[in-house]
């Protein structure tokens, strides 16, 4: 067979979203790849310039549809800095709890999608089943299962409902048992190692040069985790380890993510204990009015109500489930931010596709791309 280009995407089981991987193959060997993103661009940054700070939360949920609350957290941290608001202590812990739950949900979703990529059928359903329990927990305190709209400038929407901690602990116990099962099904299988070992290798030097972050970087042995290196929320007051692996391959990323799941459960348990002991307000007192009238009432279009906020600039960086996400918010004093800039970790990881795909086989593309953990929503924004 001569060399040919094939389009893997935009509609393809491997893509996990809406993007196009153009692959040049010779028989089964990949000679060149060309990732094309942008199919899911919704202009979230631009729309944000026309929305009130709290309304942007609805957009942040949709930025990454598997890690909505992490992006809410990212934006809220930057917005609070820009608006000079200090959230209460308890809100910080609830946010951290939410982000860790989101990490569990996101990694379970990744697990489900990844095993599908290497041809495992049933763990897909196991991952989705156990993610559902986490979503149930989310629903019990945010009211949403996928788009939570939970965080607000100056705190969070509401406190945890009574009985939440008990349920959350039971779910944690259940999940820890299941993680053992996941490992038996994947890394306990010889075929899994034959498929995934030494696949998609990006060494630490290359990761740093290409800007790759998140589990991909940690799988190369670099213990870089913003939760440790640049603590936000209450991460400096909980105990956890940064999961790393040395192999820098698909198996390494699998090992890192499975370990992160366990560490997340560890953080969740500590956060639940703290929240049990420390009741308090979850919304700051001195907050710009969040609801109200950014738009004119019906019949009086164009009649904008003016309100002034103190000017400021906000920057935040969090360890999102996929990697390091950054946000930059400029507040020029109006009701809406002057500019919102988001940096997606997956965009960077995905752009480097040529460095970890070329030379492998067509059959290796789904496991490698699956191990990157693609969320096209945040790639294209």
């Amino acid at each position: 067979m001569s060399e040919m280009w094939i389009n893997m995407g935009p509609q393809h089981p491997m893509t996990h979203g809406l993007w196009n991987l153009r692959v040049k193959i010779d028989g089964e060997i990949v000679l060149d790849v060309d990732p094309e993103m942008g199919y899911l661009h919704r202009g979230i940054e631009k729309i944000s310039e026309d929305r009130h700070y709290n309304e942007i939360i609805t957009l942040m949920d949709r930025t990454c549809y598997v890690a909505g609350i992490a992006w809410e957290h990212l934006f809220i941290l930057a917005a609070e800095q820009a608006l000079h608001v200090e959230p209460p202590e308890r809100a910080l812990w609830i946010r951290m709890l939410s982000e860790e739950f989101q990490r569990v949900a996101s990694h379970l979703m990744w697990y489900a999608a990844f095993v599908q990529d290497i041809g495992l059928m049933s763990p897909f359903l196991y991952g989705m089943r156990d993610r559902d329990l986490v979503l149930d927990l989310f629903q019990s305190y945010t009211g949403g299962r996928l788009t939570y709209e939970y965080m607000r400038v100056g705190g969070v929407r509401n406190d945890l409902p009574p009985g939440f901690a008990e349920q959350a602990r039971k779910v944690c116990d259940w999940l820890l048992d299941r993680f053992v099962e996941y490992d038996r099904l994947c890394s306990g299988s010889d075929i899994f190692h034959r498929r995934c070992d030494d696949l998609g290798v990006v060494k630490a030097q290359d990761c740093i040069r290409l800007g790759i972050t998140g589990p991909m970087l940690r799988s190369a042995g670099v213990p870089r985790d913003l939760r440790k290196d640049r603590p936000y929320a209450a991460y400096d007051r909980v105990d956890f380890d940064v999961a790393t692996a040395e192999t820098a391959d698909v198996t390494g990323r699998y090992v890192v993510r499975m370990e992160e799941l366990r560490q997340s459960v560890r953080i969740i348990r500590q956060a639940l204990d703290w929240l049990d002991k420390n009741p308090g307000p979850v919304m700051a007192d001195n907050v710009p009015r969040w609801m109200g009238a950014p738009y004119a009432p019906v019949g009086r279009e164009g009649y904008l109500l003016k309100r002034e906020y103190p000017k400021g600039v906000g920057f935040s960086a969090i360890e999102e489930p996929h990697g390091e996400a950054l946000a930059y918010v400029v507040n020029e004093g109006g009701e809406h931010p002057y500019r919102v800039k988001l940096k997606s970790p997956v965009f960077v990881n995905l752009s480097a596709a040529r460095h970890y795909l070329v030379g492998y086989r067509v059959a290796d593309i789904p496991p490698i791309m699956g191990s990157v953990d693609i969320c096209v929503g945040e790639v294209d924004r």
């Binding site: 599908q116 049933s122 359903l125 099904l185 086989r361 789904p366």
Partner: protein
């Protein structure tokens, strides 16, 4: 009471019907109705129709079985709402596919594109006529039925490649190429494993092979051959550890990406017909076919159609193992399958031939006091 035979039943039915007709009809027609040639022809037709219908029904039942089993492996239920526990769901699916528009991609080659699913379907269901299900329930005693079965069974990759090539789709083409490459890797070990069976039973006739398993089933002495044969069959049926030609993750649907509607249904039904046939072959060659071991109480094996019943039970158990494997193992890569085929399965199959020869020799020992069934 003579054992029931499908052809006998068909023959009785037709001749009784024609006799009654002959009594009623006027003269020239009544002589025609009592013509023995006509009776034979109609009996054969009826026999074929019953066999085809029953086999296809069995195939559809097998699909239902897989859906339910796979569902339980995945902590879900499978089809639930059409018929009792979703028994009729596959008919509903078939009806839906039947109503769909049959289309051909613009650049596809019409002849190849449309003939491939048809030929794939035909070669798959012809197998039901070759394989005996129970004594008397096959299309006659063919002295080389095992060989014929294997020949017809291994046609499929040809048609897969034909369909893939004529689809004018790169994914289909890669899938077809993988199918062709993998055929070479697993056909040889399968045939070598079968050689061991032939050595032990001394016959190419499936009925005889089953009859030879009266005393002991072949899976004991030929365990290695069974392993090789099952692995080969997994590849032949394109089921999950070896389903590379239609590897969903990278090749969309592999060689049948471009097929839709009834053509896709043909492929799907033929795939499961092949899965059923593969399970049949394993039961026939290694698990004693329709015979049951002596310790099974007589009332369980003596009633009419007991052979068919036990045969089906064994078949579904074998297929259950396939489903189990599908539910718990990932897919291997093409080069790995080829390596397994050439470097592991062929030596194992050769070893099993040696073992079979040793068993045959052991049977000649005066201790056992029996005559080897293979000459020389």
């Amino acid at each position: 009471m003579a054992p029931l035979s499908l052809y006998g039943v068909a023959n009785t039915l037709v001749s009784t019907l024609l006799l009654h007709l002959a009594a009623v009809l006027p003269a020239p027609l009544s002589t025609l109705a009592s013509n023995s040639g006509l009776i034979t022809a109609l009996s054969v037709l009826l026999f074929g129709a019953i066999l085809l219908g029953a086999s296809l029904l069995n195939t559809i039942l097998l699909i239902w079985f897989e859906r339910k089993m796979l569902g339980r492996f995945m902590d879900r239920r499978g089809a639930m709402h059409v018929g009792y526990a979703g028994l009729l769901q596959n008919f509903a699916d078939g009806l839906k596919l039947f109503r769909k528009h049959t289309f051909k991609p613009r650049d596809a080659d019409g002849l190849g594109f449309f003939s491939a699913p048809t030929a794939y379907m035909v070669t798959s269901i012809v197998m039901f006529g070759i394989l005996p299900i129970s004594t008397g329930w096959n299309s006659g005693s063919l002295p080389l039925s095992l060989l014929l079965a294997l020949v017809v069974f291994s046609f499929a990759p040809l048609f897969i490649f034909l369909g893939a090539w004529s689809s004018a789709n790169k994914y289909s083409l890669i899938g077809g190429m993988r199918s062709a490459a993998q055929m070479i890797a697993y056909e040889v070990p399968i045939l070598l494993a079968v050689v061991a069976v032939i050595l032990l039973s001394g016959s190419f006739d499936l009925s005889t092979i089953v009859a030879e398993q009266r005393n002991y089933w072949f899976w004991g002495p030929l365990f290695l051959a069974l392993l090789v044969f099952v692995a080969g069959m997994l590849a032949e049926m394109e089921r999950i550890p070896f389903d590379l030609p239609e590897a969903e993750a990278e090749l969309v649907e592999g060689w049948n990406t471009e097929y839709g509607g009834m053509l896709f249904a043909f492929f799907m039904l033929a795939d499961y017909a092949r899965a059923l046939v593969g399970s049949y072959l394993i039961v026939l060659l290694f698990l004693g076919g329709w015979t049951m071991p002596g310790w099974v109480p007589a009332p369980l094996t003596n009633f009419p159609l007991a052979g068919i019943l036990w045969f089906q039970v064994k078949t579904y158990l074998v297929f259950g193992v396939f489903i189990w494997v599908r539910a718990s193992l990932p897919r291997v890569r093409t080069d790995q399958l080829l390596r397994v085929g050439w470097m592991r399965m062929i030596p194992l199959a050769l070893l099993s031939i040696v073992l079979a020869a040793l068993v045959v020799l052991a049977k000649c020992l005066p201790v056992f006091g029996c005559v080897p069934s293979v000459g020389g």
